[in-house]
């Protein structure tokens, strides 16, 4: 039996506009966010530092005085000079240029790793928290197992099994970060799923998928984004670490960890510039992401303002 659809006529009367109806003009949410962010010095310093790195990554081709892999045996292992700001390595490659190009590879690795772990971890945690019960219990114990290993040893294990290469670094770093996202998403989900709007969505006949992904997950994303900026920093450290011990990116490529590894081979000769400058680049970037993350946390969590 199909119900007759009732034709609703348009409203017969317009009520007087109440005072509540005359809200101030709606400012865009993003505008609001930017407005508060700008007043947070920590976040702004972090944003500036990251901005510099992104700028270097995008425009390395034009800023860098030399190509990333220009071998020149005439200028092998030169200390910093006017021609070579950060000096040169054992193959006469310009370290300043390589640091700039390195930003590209390192940011790409970090971005891919963070995005992969964010998607897998969030979906995993969201489902785990939403379903609850035994499923949740089992899912979380699996995460416990992953987290049971010391982070870096675990990454080394994965990298060793997969063999060196950029993809290896991405995968190892991503797997490391999945449990963090999963846990965070699960805990937000536990509180979100008892919310009234979830109940209201149910009462209007929404199915589980719609409730979970349309209503609940978007409400749990803010902590995920905050953590992501911090994870970026970690990912860069881990990627560089893996390359440094020779399980990541090959030393022929302009990647910061690999450059440190290459430079370290000349440690005893006192060629300090070979590893110091890539190391500073890593420190600069990680610090930038951490500052931004801390700042975002303050901006997005009104209780901490």
């Amino acid at each position: 039996m199909s119900a007759p659809t009732i034709d609703l006529p348009t409203s017969p009367v317009t009520p007087p506009a109440s005072a509540a109806a005359l809200a101030p003009p709606f400012r865009e949410r993003l505008g609001d966010f930017w407005y508060t962010l700008r007043r947070n010095p920590t976040a702004m310093i972090g944003l500036f530092m990251i901005g510099v790195v992104i700028f270097a990554a995008l425009f390395a081709q034009w800023i860098a005085p030399y190509p990333a892999n220009e071998i020149d045996f005439a200028v092998v292992a030169q200390p910093p000079t006017r021609e070579h700001l950060f000096g040169t390595d054992q193959f006469g490659q310009d370290i300043f240029s390589r640091v700039l190009f390195g930003a590209r590879i390192d940011l790409m690795i970090a971005l891919s790793a963070v995005v992969i772990s964010l998607i897998i971890g969030s979906v995993y945690g969201a489902i785990s928290g939403y379903v609850g019960g035994l499923t949740d219990e089992v899912a979380m114990r699996i995460m416990d197992i992953l987290q049971g290993f010391p982070r870096f040893i675990f990454a080394m294990g994965i990298a060793f099994a997969l063999g060196p290469g950029i993809e290896t670094v991405v995968i190892a770093t991503a797997v490391l970060n999945i449990p963090g996202y999963a846990r965070l998403m699960r805990s937000s989900m536990l509180s979100a799923k008892t919310s009234q709007y979830a109940m209201a969505a149910k009462a209007i006949g929404a199915n589980h998928r719609a409730i979970l992904f349309k209503h609940l997950v978007p409400n749990c994303m803010i902590p995920i984004f905050v953590i992501s900026t911090l994870q970026f920093g970690w990912a860069i450290l881990e990627a560089a670490g893996l390359s440094f011990i020779g399980l990541g990116v090959e030393t022929s490529r302009a990647e910061w960890g690999a450059m440190i590894q290459l430079g370290f081979q000349d440690f005893l000769q006192g060629h300090w510039w070979m590893y110091t400058f890539p190391g500073l680049a890593i420190a600069w970037t990680v610090l930038g992401f951490n500052l931004l993350g801390d700042g975002l946390q303050d901006v997005l969590d009104p209780r901490r303002r």
Binding site: M1, A3, T5, I6, L8, P9, T10, S11, V13, T14, P15, A17, S18, A20, A21, A23, F26, R29, S195, Q196, Y197, M199, A200, A201, K202, A203, I204, G205, A206, N207, A210, K214, H215, P218, N219, M221
Partner: protein
């Protein structure tokens, strides 16, 4: 068949031969650590087509649980353990979760108190309205947009196009409740359950929301169950009032009857505890508390608080007795109560 009925009012006034909703001996229990709380105790009532029925009672009398039981959204550890909920001939307690989901929103809609909490804070009003229209009504984007605008206009929201772009936190409470009502009627449900729809709203807005509920009934012929503890609101909006106590309907009557000839001692207590403009400083209250639902009183659940209670009330549970047309009350001492009221005047 009431084919000649021109307005839903006429339909409402007619005694419905087959009620659209009939609840029979419904028992919803909560399995807590302290024991089983029998929140709904063989609850029975029916709702006619186009009727607005007020469900009133103290906090903890089972009003909201009744609402949630009808749409089968009782949260664990609660469970419907017995009884039937016949909605347009189908027993809702026997439906699968998938079938039930199809009924929610489309046939039975529910609105809650605290309307702002019922709206998803990260989606705009328009997103949420359009989503319902798209998924439940199969509309395309353009149709949904037009219909959403129309719905907001229908619930008297000025500048509907602009409000569609607003986020819930940018709305006032009254505005948010209008949006919820718009969402609830978007699929032309046959039954609307309003769970304390005006709690937390100021009186002028409350009045507007009540009027809106009435207007929607007149417009669409939907039946409404208005759950409230506010008798004034019930008087304003309802055709019939049911009083709940400890999970049972103790008295039900057409609204006029209810206020002119209240019969159950509990109803009398409720009516007496309304604050009045002319009254003294102190508001009379019903002595005692809502009974412990795990260890329910024997016989009539109200007997510990009732001044007419006798040995009979402690041992035998009273059944509803006819007081007038469409007016029943479950009490052993209806005659004594009436006599005492008459004597008091």
């Amino acid at each position: 068949m009431a084919t000649t009925a021109t307005t839903p009012h006429a339909v409402a006034a007619m005694p419905a031969e087959t009620p659209m909703l009939e609840v029979r001996d419904l028992e919803t229990q909560f399995f807590t650590r302290k024991g089983v709380a029998r929140v709904l105790d063989r609850l029975s009532f029916s709702i006619g087509k186009g009727e607005i029925v007020g469900l009133v009672g103290e906090s903890g009398s089972g009003k909201s649980v009744t609402g949630f039981s009808i749409v089968n959204l009782i949260k664990s550890p609660g469970k419907i353990v017995a009884g039937e909920i016949l909605f347009e001939g189908r027993d809702l307690t026997r439906l699968s979760e998938d079938q039930m989901r199809d009924i929610r929103g489309k046939d039975i809609a529910m609105i809650f108190q605290n309307p702002r909490g019922s709206l998803n804070p990260v989606l705009t009003v328009g997103d949420q309205l359009r989503q319902v229209l798209k998924y439940r009504q199969g509309m395309n984007k353009k149709q949904a947009q037009e219909r959403a605008t129309e719905l907001l206009r229908l619930v008297h929201i000025p500048e509907p196009e602009r409000r569609l772009k607003a986020y819930p936190h940018q709305l006032s409470g009254g505005m948010a409740q209008r949006v919820m009502i718009a969402m609830a009627i978007s699929c032309s449900p046959h039954l609307l359950i309003a769970d304390e729809p005006t709690t937390g709203l100021d009186v002028t807005i409350e009045y507007q929301i009540i009027q809106l509920l009435k207007e929607m009934r007149d417009l669409t012929g939907t039946s409404v169950i208005a759950i409230t503890h506010d008798l004034n609101m019930a008087a304003e909006v309802c055709d019939r009032i049911m009083v709940m106590y400890a999970g049972k309907v103790v008295e039900q009557a057409p609204v006029l009857q209810f206020f002119t000839k209240p019969s159950h001692p509990y109803t009398l207590g409720l009516l007496a505890s309304r604050p009045s403009l002319s009254g003294g400083d102190e508001i009379p209250t019903i002595p005692g508390n809502v009974p412990d639902l795990i260890h329910r009183p024997t016989g009539c659940a109200f007997h510990p608080r009732c001044r007419w209670a006798t040995q009979e009330c402690i041992s035998i549970e009273p059944l509803p007795r006819e007081v007038g047309p469409g007016h029943t009350a479950a009490c052993h001492h209806l005659e004594e109560v009436q006599r005492d009221i008459a004597a008091a005047h």
